[in-house]
């Protein structure tokens, strides 16, 4: 059944550094910094103030709207400050700083669901919402919004366990060590959507995880099927996974639900399982710490809000010639300049690169090889998109070349032998097109007001 998607590239997966290392629990830090915005959508309003005592799993951030997710204390202790702190997304974000009392007193709010088998879809959505679950693969879109908008539309439910970015092994280890959570979460989703089968998409370089899951499925008789997919980047991108497993394409500018698909990351499925069976909201995250700059790469489970410096400390520190820190994978992750930024809900990986500086070409010249066209999973033509953007022609970029469909996966930039900054240009181009659209909309509204 496993099909394919368009284009793609084959970066060296570099997973061997942490593939065989069991998830270790990081010793909780003395202080955690929990940003009030770790998801796509409205930031949360803090529910606590300086001096308050909080318990593990207690809600400390109230959703700021429908597309938002509550935030919970990841340790027990005292609120030291509620103030803007450096964020992994750049700039500062209002954060709750908690001093850990190392008691791990669990909040009374943490209550498992009494009858998981008898839950209605609406009840599951409520549990997911209260647990603050967002897309844990890195997209951080609130999961309750995703489920409720896809209910009744989706007949294909897919668990994304492709983990196609190099270095990252957190999902791989989770599947090996906690198959009951993965399958349990998938079963809950099957029940919620009323589908006969939930498909788990795994890249072929994780065959052992597929075997473990298959054994768990055989044991429990869960309505889940494992699909082993080609090892190719970006296999784990939503549109590409949808295409590879269901053979359907998500219409341009639409959501997976419009193609009858709903896709969840494997750690999101685990989080749903824990929220239902343990009542535990998202308070911790499995983070792969790897890269040439890390002395001893590891898979660590740490409380949300742990400064990334603590992760590196637990891995023996960094090499002195480390020149780049990346939160996320090497293809789509964000470079960081501060080791005090905290681990958020979407953090699955921290990389440190050391040694030879990366290749930088000061005046890159396109040689027109067309490799970017072959690599684009959306079948765009990055070579022309780049040329038109460099000329400032956003009109052609947007309409003729479908630039807004770019998923910024970085495959074109990875493959480009001339080292053009393609993805960066498209990211900026898309932002400018958005700004143009907003400006046009504002102008139109002003016109209307004038007429009225």
């Amino acid at each position: 059944m496993a099909q394919s998607f368009f284009g793609g590239v084959h970066p060296d997966d570099k997973k061997s550094a942490t593939r065989a290392k069991p998830i270790e629990t990081l010793e909780a830090p003395a202080e955690v910094v929990i940003p009030m915005s770790m998801h796509i959508g409205a930031p949360c309003k803090p529910l606590v103030a300086k001096g308050d005592t909080v318990q593990l799993g207690q809600r400390i951030g109230e959703p700021g709207g429908f597309v938002s997710a509550p935030i919970h204390a990841s340790v027990s202790g005292t609120v030291k400050a509620v103030e803007p702190r450096p964020s992994s997304m750049g700039g500062k974000v209002l954060s709750v700083v908690i001093e850990n009392d190392f008691q791990n007193t669990i909040s009374g709010e943490v209550k498992p669901v009494a009858d998981p088998g008898g839950m209605t879809p609406e009840e599951l959505v409520e549990v997911v919402r209260n647990a603050g679950i967002v897309g844990l693969g890195g997209a951080t879109f609130p999961t309750h919004v995703k489920i409720s908008s896809a209910l009744g539309k989706a007949d294909y439910v897919i668990i994304n366990a492709a983990e196609c970015e190099p270095y990252i092994t957190g999902d791989h280890r989770t599947m090996l060590e906690r198959p009951e959570q993965v399958i349990g979460g998938a079963t809950l989703l099957a029940q919620c959507f009323g589908v006969d089968k939930v498909y788990i998409g795994i890249e072929a370089n994780k065959q052992d995880a597929a075997d473990v899951l298959n054994r768990e499925i055989a044991k429990t008789g869960a309505p889940v099927a494992v699909e082993v997919l080609h090892t190719r980047y970006p296999q784990g991108a939503e549109k590409q996974l949808c295409q590879a497993i269901s053979g359907r394409q998500i219409p341009s500018g639409k959501l997976p639900a419009d193609a009858g698909c709903c896709i969840f990351n494997v750690s999101t499925a685990c989080a749903i399982y824990r929220a239902v069976y343990e009542g535990m909201p998202i308070v911790s995250k499995v983070v792969t710490v790897s890269g040439s700059g890390v002395i001893e790469p590891k898979n660590l489970e740490c409380p949300i809000g742990t400064p990334v410096a603590k992760l590196f400390d637990a891995c023996g520190g960094l090499r002195e010639d480390t020149y780049k820190l990346i939160m996320g994978g090497p293809m789509m992750g964000m470079a960081q300049y501060d080791t005090e930024v905290p681990v958020g809900k979407g953090t699955g990986c921290m990389l440190a690169f050391a040694g030879d500086e990366e290749q930088y070409v000061s005046d890159p010249q396109c040689i027109r090889c067309g490799k970017c066209v072959g690599a684009c999973p959306i079948r765009l033509e990055p070579i022309f998109m780049y040329k038109y953007l460099m000329k400032g022609d956003r009109e052609t970029f947007e309409h003729k070349l479908h630039g807004m469909d770019c998923i910024e996966c970085g495959a074109c930039t990875y493959i480009c032998p001339a080292r053009l900054p393609l993805t960066h240009a498209f990211r900026m181009g898309k932002q400018q097109v958005q700004a143009d659209r907003m400006a046009a909309k504002a102008r139109a509204e002003a016109e209307q007001k004038k007429e009225a």
Binding site: F6, K239, Q243, Q249, I250, P251, S252, K254, A309, F312, D313, G317, L318, E320, T322, Y323, K324, L325, I326, G328, P330, M331, M332, G333, M334, A335, Q336, Y337, T339, L351, E357, E358, S362, D363, Q365, C366, I367, R368, C369, G370, V373, G374, P377, I378, R379, L380, E381, I383, F384, H402, D405, T413, Y414, I415, P417, A418, R419, P421, T423, H424
Partner: protein
Amino acid sequence: MTDYKNLKLIASSSPHIRSEEDTRSIMLDVIIALLPALLMRVYQFGSWSFRALTLTVCSVAGCLFWEWGYRKLMKKSMALGDLSAVVTGVLLAMVCPVTLPYWMILVGSFFAIVVVKQLYGGIGCNFLNPALAGRAALTAAYAGAMTTWLAPDATYPAFGSADIITAATPLAIMKEGTAESFAELTNTYSLGDLFLGKIGGSLGEAPALMLILGGIYLLVRKVISWHIPVAYIGTVAAVCLLSAPAGVGAAEYMAYNLFAGGLMLGAFFMATDYATSPVTRLGQIVFGVGCGLITCFIRRFGSYPEGVCYSILIMNCTTWLLDKYIRPTIYGALRREKKEAAAK
């Protein structure tokens, strides 16, 4: 423990890793792929070997000099290290007769590098293949010198002597396209001669065997894709099979047409030139078929015995058109009927 404050960190945009392949490694691969054919041919020239070698070196040096000089003069960034000028130099030498005066190949390299490549903006911006355009310019300017084909067993003339033993190229022998001319060709050269390069012709258009090996190397290294060479050679093969003169075995006629002349050099190394061929796979197939048809047309009906050079140059001119109209359907594009349904 490491003091993180002392790290000198770069915060740049993703992706943070790059494929190892870059422009320089691609050009180096092309040079490596050309070497077996070039070296074997140079060896076969016997007493002309030295001359063949120095002509190649002269061509490469010329290309590098013109590229350096132009970019220096125009105060543009220097990228001689990308080796693209070296590739042009080697290819230009390979499509010229080994007897060509040194100064003429310098003129050719000037035309290739300055007029065809740099005036249009440098690497990736030219619309004609520089080496072939250089050859075409030289053929127009010095028709005699450009069609003096050394006989395979010619000896280098003694000092002061101007006698050069020449031979007709296989394609020239069968130019008339009759059964008799084809019989003359088969009597002059065996297929093995063609395959191993024991024929009259330009410095690097043979041996076919080594050129094919070089092409396979480029395919394996993913420097080129199969689309253009297969479409090109396949079209020539098909047309020859269907159009063999009466009284000639179609398969034999096809084989001679494939391995004589510059088809292998053209299909693997010239038509696949990035800057002058389409970027989409389908566009590349159309491009290759077009090259094949024009090659056959010139060989059969044109006044030149060989059509590879001009067929590729002509198709180079259509590249922008192929790129404009042959475009991939993007992921998730709404089909027309669905669009109409959505509009209702």
